[in-house]
């Protein structure tokens, strides 16, 4: 088993959905039950493979690439078919393979208009391949291909099964993302050629950057390009405007996948590619990323307060939450990036759940207009409480998953990595902390208006408004359980991510400047951006003093 997993595990996990797609293509469109079954079995099979991977995963060496495959793929451009997972990818892959079957279960009996389960499920499975592949890819070109692979299915999911304004929304989503990735591609290529790396494999590139020393200016430009590409996907302010539209119009399952997994592709890109390969540029960009992150936090929250549509509100809350993730990343510390990984998983579960709930509310009330809703707790008490729990999780209540993404991110901003301006980040910390209040504000306000009070007259005796159905329970229970489990025992994620995050950060970023002797500093040979003075220890002391003050 182990050997088989070692060589084929990731490939199987990545491409099994395509096998499912192939089977479904052969089944006529009107045999809906068979389609559902094939899709579910496929996604469960992928989940099973992933769980086996988790079991075989060497927890002691999360920093090491495991189940790695490395074959030449496109010889002319030195691109490899290189897959592998470490502690950063694994939680995200698990999140993905969890969400997909749940989405399939959730839509079991109510596919959005215009129905057509065959096409809908095929798109979901294609998406799964893209998402898993992105998290597993270890080669820049391969990563790019998978990164883009998710575009079309999501585009059509929104465009065909979406709400009334779906054409505009889907197109916007598509254009934004492609714009980012086009520039991102240029950056990738520039990186490859300026470094003269052997191949597009991440480690080769990182080594090449370290060895050949790409000029600072070039690094900055390349990082900027990647930032644009990943930042749009995240989405970072001011590239976020596609998100509310896409979420609002997307069918429930689309929103869930979009929120739970797709947004993570961007942040994952930062953690996996931009920062490890270009640490020096990262240091110089960090304050800007941090600034956009906190602007996103406040801005997203303020926008939430102005919303009248439940789904749109949740969508804007994603902007704020991903701001926390980005803040964690921008500190360039082990702590901050761990927080980001946790934030990604937590946001995936929580916002995914919130979108599920919004979908179920929509299905019962046929509207998401907040002012028309109310008294959910009276008419569907279980759903109301689940909603309450998710809201609490989303606003970062300790004991639930959201807290572990938010609090460590704020914490890490107090003491960012070497070379990152400390005072600036402390300001960010305070702003981000204010953001938590706003988050509580809009979320509780939402809870109050949706769940509390008495049902409005138009829905008071509506027989359609029933409590949580069986499919909903099946789809939600695992997510709720995980929200609580991770909240109580965050080590579930941290244990996986910590080693890998630590290994992904450049030594000069993480070394404690105040404890460094002159010799050690010299031996490290850090560039000036890290602000580690070589020769005398005073620079470090000054920094330390600043940290103390």
């Amino acid at each position: 088993m182990e050997n088989l997993l070692d060589g084929w595990g990731l490939t199987v996990a990545t491409f099994s959905p395509m096998v499912g797609v192939a089977v479904m293509l052969l089944i006529p469109r009107d045999q809906e039950d068979r389609h559902k079954l094939v899709a579910l079995v496929t996604s469960l099979w992928v989940a099973l493979v992933s769980v086996l991977l988790l079991i075989e995963f060497d927890i002691g060496h999360t920093d090491r690439l495991q189940f790695a495959v490395d074959k030449v793929w496109i010889d002319v451009i030195s691109s490899h078919y290189s897959l592998g997972i470490d502690g950063i990818s694994l939680p995200l892959i698990l999140l993905t393979v969890l969400i997909v079957p749940l989405c399939i279960v959730y839509s079991w009996n109510h596919f959005p208009e215009p129905h057509n389960p065959k096409a809908f499920l095929i798109l979901i499975l294609v998406l799964e391949t893209g998402m898993v592949g992105t998290f597993a890819a270890q080669d820049l070109v391969l990563f790019f291909v998978f990164f883009e692979l998710v575009l079309l299915p999501m585009f059509f999911m929104i465009a065909v099964w979406g709400g009334p304004n779906r054409r505009y929304a889907s197109l916007k989503f598509f254009l934004f993302t492609l714009f980012g990735s086009a520039l991102m591609l240029v950056s990738f290529l520039a990186l490859f050629f300026l470094t003269g790396a052997e191949s597009f494999v991440f480690t080769d590139l990182a080594d090449a950057v370290a060895a050949h020393g790409v000029s600072r200016t070039a690094q900055l430009w390349i990082f900027g390009g990647m930032m644009l590409g990943f930042g749009i996907k995240v989405p970072m302010f001011p590239f976020h405007t596609w998100l509310p539209d896409a979420h609002t119009e997307a069918p429930t399952v689309g929103s869930v996948i979009l929120a739970a997994v797709l947004l993570k592709l961007g942040t994952y890109g930062f953690i996996r590619i931009a920062i490890p390969i270009l640490p020096e540029a990262a240091v110089e960009w960090a304050p800007w990323i941090g600034m956009l992150a906190v602007i996103g936090i406040i801005y997203g929250a303020l926008s939430c307060l102005a919303q009248t549509d439940m789904k749109r509100l949740i969508a804007f809350s994603s902007v704020a939450h991903m701001g926390f993730v980005m803040l964690g990343i921008s500190t360039l510390t082990d702590f901050g990036i761990n927080a980001a990984v946790m934030g990604m998983v937590a946001h995936g579960l929580i916002t995914g759940m919130l979108f599920f709930l919004a979908g179920s509310v929509k299905e019962r009330y046929h509207t998401l207009e907040i002012s028309r809703l109310g008294g959910l707790l009276v008419q569907a008490p279980r759903m109301g409480w689940i909603f309450g729990l998710c809201v609490m999780a989303s606003l970062g209540l300790p004991g639930l998953a959201g807290f572990w993404g938010e609090f460590p991110a704020i914490l890490s901003a107090y003491s960012p990595a070497n070379g990152v301006p400390v005072e600036t980040f402390r300001t960010f910390m305070v702003i981000a902390a204010v953001g938590t209040v706003l988050a509580a504000g809009y979320l509780l306000w939402l809870l109050q208006r949706i769940a509390f009070g008495t049902p409005p007259e138009e829905f008071a005796d509506d027989p359609h408004i029933t409590d949580t159905s069986r499919e909903e329970w099946i789809a939600w229970a695992p997510m709720l359980a995980l929200i609580v489990a991770i909240g109580v025992y965050p080590n579930l994620v941290f244990r996986l991510s910590d080693g890998a995050v630590d290994a992904s950060l450049h030594e000069c970023l993480t070394v404690n400047a105040s404890e460094l002797t002159a010799d050690q500093a010299e031996a490290l040979g850090c560039a000036d951006v890290y602000n580690i003075s070589v020769g005398d220890g005073h620079g470090g002391d000054a920094d330390h003093a600043a940290a103390g003050g």
Binding site: T241, L397, L444
Partner: protein
């Protein structure tokens, strides 16, 4: 002696933390106490609806068990405090120790003196027990228990009040549609509160801090069908969140500041380490000041201190048992407890012990006065008690601010009993009359509700602070602790905070007066409501009596040193067992009790009672008789709610009664315009600020969203799209369809390109 030991230890084996990993089983396994109600929460959640009594039996049983365990733990602690001899935990610290050596020696000189009373060799080590929660960057984040005096005291108080409230609630909320939920969240609250109390590190503290907040949110909004209730719940949660900004930032600052003093670790949440390092002066003073201010913000919100207190009266929208448990006895004192827990930080950060007035003492002082004034003008009995709670919490914070640590915690201890007693009594009365409005729906209840009446009066006297009831002793200790009493023998202590003493004593008078008013309005006169009220059942009355009993006797727990007729072994027992004498606790000095101060404060209280009593029991009673109905104030008195509208009338009245009501000038004056104005400020300005902040946030949100997001950010994108499309439209016009135009373009392009290239090449 201790001083030498400390110094030697810090150079040889690192910094002593004042904690031990040993101790009796009970002390090491205090996690069981929060665990039990936690279990009950899960149990009620999943099985409550299917149980005969809707899950309440689970709650009562588990909390009862926790109470028993707490008592046993307390017993174990009493033994441990004096008899434990075990190894103390030391922590290696950064090289910077030597530089600050001198300072720390000074700091400990005080401690040495003050700690002389304790027997050397019994270092009163806190019992520390942790497990790793998660690990990051080679730093283990732990969760665990730190059991010492304050923790044990809180365990007992919380479990006891919680148990009584559980029992009380089985009758009070009987028949409620969410009976099961109510008990589930009571249990969850108890668990969270107990977790907070035993927290070993600030992260755990933060977690439980938020958890009690959310329980409070759920319970305040228990009857969420009515909007005011959910509004109150939201307000409570949001106000607390504002304070939590401070907590988060403060904790973060401390985390890294401590980390900078610990080699090979970038941070630490450990409370013992933080305090110990702060106490030895190894942490940057600036960082401590900032951290203290930030944490103070959290205290202000959680413990209803002035500026962020407005949520607490609104929180009375919740069921009365909840108000008693959460908003009087336990959760609201979390802030006070947090200061007590992190005293090393605050002591250094606010330089407590000098005589300069610090932020904490000032906020406490202001709060205590403001709260007391506001309590005068309430019609709602629970709001009277709520403002009273604010005022009493102000006492505690003020006490901590002046260095009277033990007094503050002792007051916390006694206050928990008499205030819970009062709340539950109020609940009992309200249960009978189905209203909380003293003026329109109460009055004369002493005849029909004798038990409630008696316990309420006992609680009131304890609150007012008449000897020998509990409130007197703890209040007196606070006065002593201010060190501001210079007459007939000084009181010493950590400094001379005369200003705080004045504030405290003024409040004592006000407290006595408003409680007299409250008692009169509720229990005297004639019944003004509807229906026939009758005494509540045993499940309400028994807890009332237990609490009343405690309100009488609790004060004896800490009889002042040197009190005649009392054996020395019974003096200052509370202080002895509760106040830590360990490296994680700063060396504080205690004031000397003074007969003159005690006498003076008693007189002040009596005069407060007398003035209010005379007004109500004499004047109002007489006016009622004259009017033939039960009045709540003099028909032409000063207690008009809108002084401006009746200014002329009031002016006349004042003049007319000036000779009769000579003391009313003070009492009535305060009660009338000042209090009304204060209330107005409270409602309009401070609350207004909070509400306006909320509204403005929404407005800002609207602005940002509609003006900026939709127009500018989105606009840029859409407009660039539109511009592209427009450009496309313009370019399209080239395509005339005429072949010769095309040929012209072709040729012209070729010529232009050739020309340009010829020039540049």
């Amino acid at each position: 002696m201790t001083e030498l030991l400390t110094l030697a230890a810090s150079t040889a084996t690192g910094l002593p933390l004042g904690i031990t990993e040993g101790g009796s089983w009970l002390l090491r396994n205090a996690w069981l106490i929060p665990f039990l109600p936690g279990l009950s929460f899960v149990g009620i959640l999943f099985f409550g609806k299917r149980m005969p009594r809707g899950g309440s039996e689970l709650g009562v049983a588990f909390v009862g068990l926790a109470f028993v365990l707490s008592l046993l733990t307390a017993a174990a602690w009493i033994d441990h405090r004096d008899n434990f001899e075990g190894e103390e935990v030391h922590r290696a610290v950064a090289v910077a120790v030597a530089e600050h050596g001198g300072e720390s020696a000074e700091g400990h000189a005080d401690e040495g003196e003050s700690a002389e009373g304790h027997v050397p060799g019994h270092p009163s080590l806190g019992v520390h027990n942790t497990v790793t929660w998660f690990e990051m960057n080679d730093v283990a984040f732990t969760v665990g228990t730190l059991v010492d005096g304050p923790a044990v005291m809180m365990l007992v108080v919380v479990t006891l009040v919680s148990l009584l409230v559980h029992v009380y609630s089985t009758e009070y909320v009987a028949g409620d549609r969410r009976y099961t939920h109510f008990f589930a969240f009571l249990s969850l609250f108890s668990a969270s509160m107990l977790l907070l109390v035993v927290s070993e590190n600030t992260l755990q503290l933060l977690v439980s801090w938020e958890l009690v907040g959310v329980c409070s949110f759920v319970l305040i909004g228990h009857w969420w069908e009515e909007k005011p209730n959910s509004d109150a719940a939201l307000k409570a949660f949001l106000t607390n969140r504002v304070g939590d900004i401070g907590l988060i930032i403060g904790v973060a600052i401390l985390f890294f500041t401590v980390g900078s003093a610990l080699p090979g670790q970038f941070g630490s949440f450990s409370i013992a380490e933080t305090n110990a390092l702060a106490g030895t002066g190894q942490l940057s003073h600036t960082a401590l000041v900032v951290a203290s201010c930030c944490l103070m913000a959290a205290v202000m919100s959680k413990s209803g201190q002035f500026l962020l207190h407005t949520w607490l009266p609104d929180a009375m929208a919740g069921p009365t048992p909840v108000s008693a448990l959460i908003h009087a006895a336990t959760m609201v004192v979390a802030g006070v407890f947090m200061i007590a827990r992190m005293y090393g930080v605050f002591f250094e950060g606010f330089s407590i012990g000098g005589s300069s007035i610090n932020l904490m003492a000032l906020i406490g002082g202001i709060t205590t006065l403001i709260g007391a004034c506001l309590a005068f003008v309430q019609r709602d009995i629970k709001k009277v008690l709520a403002y009273s709670t604010i005022s009493q919490l102000g006492y505690m914070v003020m006490a901590l601010g002046v260095g009277a640590w033990t007094a503050a915690l002792f007051h916390l201890f006694t206050h928990a009993f008499f205030k819970a007693c009062l709340f539950l009594g109020a609940g009992s009365a309200a249960h009978a009359v189905h209203s909380f409005d003293m003026k329109s729906d109460m009055g004369g209840l002493r005849k029909v509700m004798p038990h409630t009446y008696r316990t309420f009066v006992i609680g009131s006297i304890a609150l007012a602070g008449l000897p020998p009831l509990a409130g007197f002793w703890s209040k007196d200790e606070i006065f002593v602790g201010t060190g501001g009493w210079g007459l007939f023998g000084g009181t010493g202590g950590n400094g001379a905070y005369t200003f705080m003493l004045v504030m405290g004593v003024t409040t004592a008078a006000l407290t006595a007066a408003y409680m007299t008013r409250c008692v009169y309005l509720t229990f005297f006169g004639e019944f003004r409501g509807h229906g026939t009220p009758h005494e509540s059942g045993p499940r309400i009355v028994v807890p009332l009596w237990i609490l009343a009993g405690l309100a009488i006797v609790a004060g004896f727990g800490n009889l002042p040193k040197g009190l005649p007729l009392v054996p020395e072994s019974l003096q200052e027992r509370f202080g002895h067992f509760v106040e830590p004498v360990a490296s994680y606790f700063p060396g504080i000095s205690h004031g000397t009790p003074s007969w003159s101060l005690a006498t003076a404060s008693t007189l002040v209280v009596l005069s407060g009672i007398a003035v209010a009593g005379w007004y109500y029991f004499v004047k109002v009673e007489a006016a009622s008789k004259a009017a033939g109905e039960s009045l709540t104030e003099l028909p032409d008195g000063l207690t008009t709610k809108y002084p401006l509208a009746r200014m002329g009338h009031t002016f006349l009245v004042q003049k007319y009664y000036l000779d009769h009501l000579y003391t009313d000038v003070i009492a009535g004056g305060t009660k009338g315009p000042v209090a009304a104005a204060a209330y107005k400020i409270d409602q309009d300005v401070i609350d207004g600020v909070v509400n306006a902040a909320g509204e403005n946030a929404v407005k800002a949100g609207n602005l940002v969203y509609h003006r900026f997001d939709q127009l500018v950010v989105d606009g840029i994108v859409n407009n660039s799209g539109r511009a592209s499309s427009g450009a496309g439209g313009e370019l399209r016009k080239i395509q005339t369809g005429k072949v010769q135009d095309y040929a012209a373009i072709l040729f012209a392009s070729a010529m232009v390109l050739a020309g340009v290239l010829i020039v540049i090449v």
